[in-house]
């Protein structure tokens, strides 16, 4: 058994202190194996983004600790790929330039990554838009470009914070499929924050159901469905059963 990719041990996050204190997350524990696709599923404001930022080392745990690749996270982790709710495309660079920004900020030689950039751009079907600026793209195209930006330095751990949250249903479905095939190909460890039950079941090896504030990982559900999970898989009885099981839990919280 290889070491855990991510090990969350009784992590909590409390913002401010005293009477003003807001208990945002935890305590919760979870061990994620390399190559897993984990969804953090919960209602808005439940602290799932907080947990993601703590894994990334962009927020400190108030108590408990998180281990990433065998080391306790104490500072921003540069070995991973993060995609934020609002994409981090800058308006003064083209699609290609934005992807290369990840490389340049890391001080890596751009020339070595040219092929990777090209491959990523064609994987997400943006070949004709590589030299366009973000404002010339639709929301879905922007997210695809941001996704390339997240992947270009070939991280083996990906943290994705509701990357599809602001897209329409059709675009979501199509990007989800791309995301799944990319994952199946390279098998990175993925932590995927979402509030879509369907999305979580379709993409994940395990779904972590997070309770409303303060967020806790209430239940971890193994999703035992064959890959790739296409439209047919989503119509299967088993898929519906998982959805019903999760809906039941949220219904219990009074969220649904």
């Amino acid at each position: 058994m290889t070491a855990a990719a991510i090990d969350i041990r009784s992590a909590t996050k409390t913002y401010a202190s005293g009477t003003e204190a807001v208990h945002a997350f935890g305590p919760s524990s979870l061990t994620i194996a390399p190559g897993e696709f984990i969804s953090l599923l919960g209602p808005s404001g439940c602290g799932k983004s907080t947990l993601m930022l703590m894994i990334a080392g962009l927020l400190d745990c108030t108590s408990g600790e998180i281990e990433l690749g065998g080391h306790v996270v104490k500072e921003p982790q540069t070995s991973i790929g993060i995609m934020f709710q609002d994409n981090t495309l800058v308006p003064w660079r083209t699609v290609r330039g934005n992807i290369e920004l990840q490389i340049e900020l890391r001080g890596l030689p751009s020339a070595d990554y040219r092929a990777t950039v090209d491959r990523l751009i064609s994987t997400v079907k943006l070949d004709d838009f590589a030299d366009r600026y973000p404002y010339e793209l639709s929301g879905g195209m922007q997210q695809r470009a941001a996704f390339c930006q997240t992947l270009v330095h070939r991280p083996d751990v990906l943290l994705l914070d509701e990357p599809l949250g602001k897209l329409d249903a059709m675009t979501r479905e199509s990007i989800r499929r791309d995301l799944q095939s990319l994952w199946l190909e390279d098998r990175p460890t993925v932590v995927f924050v979402t509030h879509s039950i369907e999305e979580a079941i379709q993409l994940s090896t395990r779904v972590c159901v997070i309770s409303p504030r303060p967020g806790r990982i209430e239940k971890v559900i193994d999703i035992d469905l064959p890959w790739p999970r296409d439209l047919a898989a989503k119509r299967s009885e088993k898929f519906s059963a998982y959805a019903a099981e999760i809906e039941e839990i949220f219904h219990g919280y009074g969220v649904l």
């Binding site: 930022l53 990334a56 962009l58 921003p76 982790q77 540069t78 991973i80 993060i82 934020f84 709710q85 609002d86 994409n87 981090t88 800058v90 308006p91 003064w92 920004l101 990840q102 340049e104 900020l105 890391r106 001080g107 004709d128 838009f129 366009r132 600026y133 404002y135 010339e136 793209l137 639709s138």
Partner: protein
């Protein structure tokens, strides 16, 4: 889906003449208003029998001004030098200072509130003092222009460098980029649009500062000219001076706008709408 690709560039063969014609076509309402305004002025003088020593006709302003064009142009040059020098020195000092204040919590607690209170002071109120300290020469004018330009630039620079959005800040941290690299690749370009808000504001202030400084104490420049000719009951020449000051202000503002278009063509304020 291919929304962006459907955008057609202007036909390649379009000559400058057709470009000018198209520009005229876009702004015909403005041109009409502009011409109408001066025609109204020209004839209102007759209709309301306004004496020339109160309000001259536009045609008189042009002909009498033309007669004194050498002096007017030289004074325009003098005022332009004062405005430009004060403006450029203000930018050269205010931008680095704004940057320092944005990144230093100590400066934000000390100098920043001081600047905010000074912003409420009419800087022009210092003009007589500078004239009395430094005399009638170029330096006190440059300092006064500097004062009226400095605050809009520094306050906008503080805002510009201090307001990078949270996700980009996190993105930078997650890449482990050095402060320098992060500054030149992300923070600086992201700050430029807001900086230009200050630059444009200051460009408008610059000629105002120079003119008032000349009013208070000088022996050349358009502000000086306007005061002298007004004292001699020559409002026609005063208007000629005002007209050149307007041109000077427009030229400075236009130059800043051109630089802006060149530096941040990607910004939403610079995108051409078809």
């Amino acid at each position: 889906m291919a929304m962006a690709s459907s955008e057609k560039a202007a036909p390649a063969g379009a000559s400058w003449l057709s470009a000018v014609l198209r520009a005229l076509g876009r702004s015909w309402a403005f041109i009409l208003f502009f011409v109408g305004f001066f025609l109204f002025w020209e004839y209102a003088i007759d209709i309301f029998s306004i004496p020339a020593y109160i309000l001259p006709r536009p045609s008189e302003i042009v002909t009498r001004g033309w007669a004194d064009i050498d002096r007017l142009l030289y004074y325009t040059y003098v005022t332009a030098v004062e405005s430009l020098l004060g403006y450029l020195v203000a930018i050269a000092i205010a931008v680095p200072l704004g940057l320092a204040i944005a990144f230093s919590s100590f400066l934000r607690r000390t100098i920043y509130p001081f600047f905010v209170s000074l912003e409420m002071t009419p800087k022009i109120a210092f003009a007589p003092l500078f004239i009395s300290w430094l005399g009638f020469g170029l330096l006190p004018k440059v300092i006064i222009v500097f004062l009226v330009c400095f605050f809009p630039v520094v306050l906008n620079a503080i805002l510009a460098f201090g307001s990078l959005n949270e996700e980009l800040t996190r993105f930078i941290r997650a890449t482990g980029a050095s402060p320098w690299r992060a500054f030149f690749k992300v923070r600086l370009p992201a700050a430029l649009p807001q900086c230009f808000v200050g630059f444009k504001y200051a460009a408008i202030n610059a000629t105002v500062g120079a003119t008032i400084a000349e009013f208070i104490g000088s022996d050349q420049g358009l502000g000086f000219y306007i005061q002298i000719v007004t004292g001699n009951m020559r409002p026609d020449l005063a208007f000629a001076g005002i007209f050149l000051l307007t041109l000077l202000g427009l030229a400075l503002f236009g130059a800043v706008t051109l630089v802006e278009r060149w530096v941040i063509p990607w910004h939403i304020s610079q995108r051409r709408t078809h």
